[in-house]
Symmetry: C2
């Protein structure tokens, strides 16, 4: 893309409510979302609650031509649920896991297992460097007795720290996601004041969508009215925020939300409304300065790039060794757990026989029975905890491996000296015989 003085960027954000088998009409809704995204061709698509990697991969396949670049952020036990699709090449990614995220024993709230985080990608919009962030903060289950408020405030604090400290080199900063905070909530004020991010709903020249920009509305058929009390009509908790820099002006010309239903479809995309913001960027940097700044962050001597590729390839190998090891350990934990469960059932079956068929003449071996049962429960508990731990380890290792693969891809493209039009093409093997640079996680 050539350097332009004025650039239009369309950003999309949606909490997909993608809990497989639990969220209503999940596959159908993903199909609708994919279809819409392919048609709309937003520059940047920020998705939350894509809990299953399979669903991400389906979307990735569906959007291969409209959004050739994407990244899925892995974290926690289940995953962060965060995904980014982009029309522009993603040069770099980074994930920050919040230090606090609810309680593992509040399993019905599930936030802890998700491993909430903020994901960042660095991409170029024309000659500008854009840092794009996607996040999903801890849910608010009760407005009156919000026991997670301190956790959410700390998340907002860490979010603003992360954005502020990582965006010094960016011309444009865009944050989208489900913040689970009302516009005037403490965490929101903390975030906006500290970072200087501006709210596209407040700033937009033209708006089309729900009253007061609400993103969780009573009209949405997936929303139970009880959840919204005491806000009858709905609440605004999803945002697209943005800011420019000393060299780049940015403003929002148009913003829209969905309105609880989708024309020609029986139900909406999600329980949240989708947001779209049309941002206009105006750069004051001459073309040369722009490319200079680029080379500052990406050391472009071919020798150094090749060396980096070598080191990264070696690092990926090590991480893969760790992956196999963690997979084996998790498998062992699962197998031991299943054996513990089988032993428990066997014991119950044996116990059932004398209880049902025999009288008191043959004394029931109670001691052994209870000891064995306690052993089975201990095995089950320990293997369960180990399984969770290894799953988290796997997610972190996979996440690092994904990021390294993306980095190798970006470096190899640099090395070849020409842009790859289609990252889904057959992998092109670089001279050194390294792993190909394709972005597919299947690799």
């Amino acid at each position: 893309m050539a350097n332009t003085d004025c650039l239009s960027v369309r950003v999309f954000s949606l909490n997909c409510w993608g809990i497989r088998y639990l969220s209503k009409h999940c596959p159908q809704r993903y199909h609708m979302i994919g279809e819409m995204l392919r048609k709309e061709e937003h520059d940047i698509v920020l998705l939350q609650e894509v809990w299953s990697e399979k669903d991400y991969l389906c979307l990735k396949k569906e959007l291969a031509t409209s959004h050739p670049y994407s990244h899925y952020f892995k974290s926690g036990v289940i995953g962060s649920g965060l995904a980014i699709f982009s029309k522009h090449r993603i040069h770099d990614t980074f994930l920050y896991r919040y230090s606090l995220n609810g309680y593992p024993y509040m399993a019905h709230h599930g936030d802890w297992f998700g491993g909430k985080a903020v994901g960042m990608v660095v991409l170029n919009l024309g000659s500008l460097t854009a840092n794009v962030y996607v996040t999903h903060l801890h849910a608010e289950y009760s407005r009156d007795k919000d026991s997670y408020l301190p956790h959410r405030v700390v998340q907002a604090w860490e979010l603003q720290q992360f954005i502020r400290h990582t965006s010094a080199g960016a011309d444009v900063v865009i944050l989208g996601g489900d913040l689970n905070m009302h516009p005037q909530d403490l965490g929101n004020r903390l975030l906006m004041s500290y970072t200087g991010l501006r709210d596209s709903y407040v700033e937009t020249a033209k708006f089309d969508g729900c009253e007061d920009g609400m993103t969780l509305i009573a009209e949405n058929p997936f929303i139970s009215k009880k959840e919204l009390v005491p806000f009858e009509k709905g609440i605004r908790i999803d945002y697209i925020l943005f800011k420019g820099s000393s060299s780049t002006e940015i403003h929002c010309g148009f913003m829209s939300t969905t309105k609880g239903s989708v024309p020609d479809h029986p139900f909406p995309y999600s329980d949240h409304e989708a947001l779209t913001a049309e941002l206009t960027l105006k750069s004051n940097i001459p073309e040369e300065a722009g490319s200079n700044r680029q080379s500052k962050t990406w050391d472009s001597a071919p020798g150094r790039v090749a060396e980096l590729v070598d080191i990264l390839t070696e690092a990926r190998t090590e991480v893969k060794v760790g992956l196999h090891c963690a997979e084996r350990m998790r498998y062992t934990a699962a197998r031991t757990g299943v054996m513990g469960l089988a032993l428990l059932f066997l014991e119950l079956a044996i116990a059932a026989v004398p209880w049902l068929a025999l009288g008191a003449e043959q004394p029931f071996p109670r001691t052994s029975f209870y000891l064995l049962a306690a052993l089975c429960f201990a095995i089950l508990l320990i293997t369960f905890l180990l399984y969770i731990f290894y799953t988290m380890e796997l997610k972190s290792l996979q996440g690092a491996e994904d990021q390294m693969r993306l980095a190798v891809g970006s470096l190899q493209e640099k090395l070849r000296g020409f842009p790859v039009a289609q990252p889904h093409n057959a992998p092109q093997r670089p001279p050194g015989g390294h792993k190909p640079s394709a972005l597919d996680p299947e690799e």
Copy 2:
């Protein structure tokens, strides 16, 4: 401090080996370290393995005049062990916890409980903005069979990501710490190549210290020769790394390490050798541009600063509510655990009576005995896990609160429009009646 074209900065780094009651001569060594730091007056002191906050607070008291600014990074169950002391005001802090850090059941290795991380502080050296990082990576317990290698490689990967993404706005980047990697190890190459950081030992014009810059040496009386196999003389695993920017040149004029003993003292400061690097900074930024850049990151309108102080004060209150809540929960977990233990002992005492004194005429209630014992063990296990979890929550909340207090202090100083010479002075109440800005964690 006035803007100078040439600036000399002395950086110190030491792994303090500060495990209370376990590390040899711990209090005496801390006393020696404090004395030396007060005398030497390095600009920046980077400490690792300060496992106890009490030891940090003692050091802070001892260094109150020589190093009025400091920060202790909290993380994990025990803490990250990372502390920074500085002669220059710390404007901002940020902590990144590595996603992988060993295994909780490898308790004798202890790394998981430490919550290894990289801490960052932003400070001004003259008119320059310096990002200073301190870190401690996972230990290598066996060179041949290093089962933690994937974890350490991922830590090095995350470390380079963190430094690269957070340092775009900095004129100078300094990293010190115990990387637990040899100079040519994969993680080290990954870190150095990607970030462009330079090794002060390699770059220094003049060196005085151990052969090959080693920091874990056989001559150190706290080191067992077995640990070093197959490296008879020692290894180099502690580093001070640095880089400048397009506007700032940096070079290392002198570097030194301790040599396994301290003159006039019976033993060395630690099992690691201490590093000192004298860096010379040469800035190409005119004074005006420098102050301009400053105001870019710190929005200086008094109204906005006051608003930020208000929001931060509110946020601190929320976090404190969370702190009290987590403390209460942890206390409950501990009390329940103690009750479980007491119940177990009581049961054992009761059981001992019939076994010892009575014969077979009074049958021993085995079933109840084993059921009760199983219950006790379940209580102990669950309360132990909860205790660990709440401790981690507390550490995170305390960490956020510390950072917020520091931020409020920095903002209030800005608001008052004059620098505070002594942050240990009696707290000065700002107009709004907010919490004082003193940096003491006792507050």
